[in-house]
Each structure stands twice: as structure tokens, then as C-alpha cells.
Symmetry: C2
Amino acid sequence: MKVSELSRRTGVQVPLIKHYLREGLLPPGRATASNQAEYGEDHVHRLRFIRTLIGTRGLSTGATKGILEAITAEQEDLHQVFGIVLGVRPAANEEDADDEPPAEAPERTGPGDARRLIAEMGWEVSRGNPAAHTLAEVLTALAGLGSDIDWHSLLPYARLADGMADVDMQQMSGERSLLAQAERAVLVSVLLEPALLALRRLAQEDKSARHFGSDGSGVSDDGAHLADSAD
Amino acid sequence: MKVSELSRRTGVQVPLIKHYLREGLLPPGRATASNQAEYGEDHVHRLRFIRTLIGTRGLSTGATKGILEAITAEQEDLHQVFGIVLGVRPAANEEDADDEPPAEAPERTGPGDARRLIAEMGWEVSRGNPAAHTLAEVLTALAGLGSDIDWHSLLPYARLADGMADVDMQQMSGERSLLAQAERAVLVSVLLEPALLALRRLAQEDKSARHFGSDGSGVSDDGAHLADSAD
């Protein structure tokens, strides 16, 4: 198909397709004339995948290219691909949102506590896993705020996260080609993240209403709740 | 204390403190001279909290101000504060990372499927909860990629997320002042998010090695693993 048809099939504008071709995110089509090329189903699939990583997940063009290259190069070893995917930091961290480097770090308890939590869970993880740094950063921030939420408080969350990783591994089984498996590793590990946070936030709203909701003043006036309380 | 002392105590540079004062994130100090003011422990605490939201969580100045105002204004009703916190979208979504609006949406299955999942879980959530939109977006993206991961596949995750929200509510108990409770709601719901994703990624690496790791080729040569295999 021509690039115009590729654009129609995927909903991606032609100039953006050409941008991805120039940046090497999309492999070139088969040249049919000096300034024309023919594209196939692989391109449709790849383009949708690119748009998902960039659009839904907020990844930069560079991070997306890194993932695509990893999938192509390392497809013989799914654990390797998983490692590369896990090494990709979310876009929010890439370019730090506001200003300045992170300020205070009063008693660098974070890294040690992160290691203690990992050890307590019996997880074997490489030193380079950026998630350990993220965990340490949050623990340091909590300590800096004088909060009593420490690594012990995170253990119940860690057990539930461990359960989520079990589900992740089940999601990975039953795939055929190695490339399909690798793509699925990206979907499951990266693309699901906002959905998992969203599920927790939905559950939080539900539980917050039960725990802290007052006699209706906490519920806006859309009449959407069937009150059976009478106080 | 003077602004220089406030800076020393918190590790935040004086020009940045003045920026937060101008933007109204930090309440003004008590004026002692035409161009001098006296700050208290409240300012130290507030400033650390601001740096945490901005630095660790990647929130913009505007989003941070919104949360602080919500805490101050709505502190009588913790469920209300929770609602406001849950309504704050993470910074990654605020300013969309790359280019263009989200591309294809072939068969808007997402919103309906998100509602089905929420109903199946028995969660009572308001229509305005942005997490429902996030969930729908991810489901739509998965369908657009031809993935067989659908709302049924997310049910095991939803049950674990429900467990996380239970832990969240336990974390909320035992606090004293309403302002402290409100701040804790922010810590628990917003600040913990990157830590929860990090915990899942750590568990993923551990389990990925067990499920997919080959005979050691998946482990880099840092000798950090005590091999008891002999093949």
C-alpha cells in the first residue's frame, strides 16, 4: 500500500509517518519509484504499536525507538527483553517536570530501606534495576516529610505487587512467535501501568466513601447513590 | 526564622522559595520590615511537602497549588479531599509527551468495557473519576493493537488493586488533625504510586528470571548470583 493508505488505515498523519521513517522507528517501505514506496501489514502493526507507546504511555520518540530496537535485537531471550523494558524509565521521569534537582535528602535512608524491603520479599533483582532507585527515592521523600510510612508499611503493598507480577507472567504464556512474545512483554509491563494505577484509584474512591463519607455531604448532588442510611 | 534559614533547613534555594511565595504555594511570612519577613515551622513543613510533590511525583506548580488549596479548603471532609486528590491527573498526562492527539480508536470498546469491569468489581465510583477514562483508554489501545488482553484479563489485577486500596485505608487510620489526615491522603494516594509500580517491576524481574531466564545468559557478568545450577 502507499503511504496515504497506511495513514488511512492507522489514523496517523502522513507527515508524522515520514517523521517516524526518518527517525528509524518505522522500517523503510519497498521502493517502487524514486520518491515512492510500498508498505505492508507489518507497517500497519508497527505504526499502531508506536502510537500506543507514545500516545497512551507518554513515551518519547527516543524511548520508543529504544524499545523497538530491543524487541528486534534481543528477541531470542524473553528475559533479556523484559530486562530492557524494565530498564526504560517512564517519560515523567525522563525530563523532570518542574525545576531544580530534588532538594533535601536528610538521612539517605532510602537506598538501604529499599534493599531491606527487596531482601524481605526474597526478590532477586539486578543492581541496575531503576525501580529500586524509584523505591528508594519515595522512601527518602517520605522520611524527609516526617511520615511514619516506611519500608515496613510497604510490605503489604509489595505482597500484592508480587501477586500482580504472577498475573503478568500468566499473561505472557501461550504466545507464539518470539516477536509477539516480546511485544506482549511491553504491553503487559509498560502499557498496563496506567491501568493498574487507575484500578487502585477507582477502588480508593469506592472504599473512601465507605470509610470516610459523611451522611451525604461527601456525595455530590447527582443522586447517583441509593442511600439506605437514615441518620 | 529568616528566608535564608528557611532555605538552609529545607535545602530549597532562596529564589525558588520566593517563586513559591509569589505563586501562592507558600503562605507569606510575618512581615518584620518593608522587605523582610519571618517564617515558622509551618513553612518548613509546607516547603518540604511542596518539594516532594514536585520533585518526586513530577507534579507541575499549578497541580501542586491545586492540591494544597484543596487540603486547606476541604479539610472538614476527608472523603472530599480524597476525591480532589483522585481527580488530579498525574503530570505525565497533563502535558502530552510527544506530538499529536491520540490517534486511532477503531471501535470505542474502552468506555463500555471499563464500566463493565467497574460493575463486576462492585465499585461505586463517580462518573467524573478520571481513572475510569484512563482505564478505558488503555482498553481501547489494547483492542486497537489486536491484543486479546481485555477487561476480563484485568479482573485479577483489579482484585489485587482492591487489596491495595484496603491497605491504603489502613494507612489512613490513626492520624490526628484533619490537616494531617488530608496530607496523608495525598501521600498515600499520589506519592506512593511510583513506589507501587516500582514494586511490581522488581517482582517482574525476579519472576521473569525464574520463568524465562536461560542457563545464565540472562544474567549479566557481575557474579551477583549464587549459582547452584550445574549444566
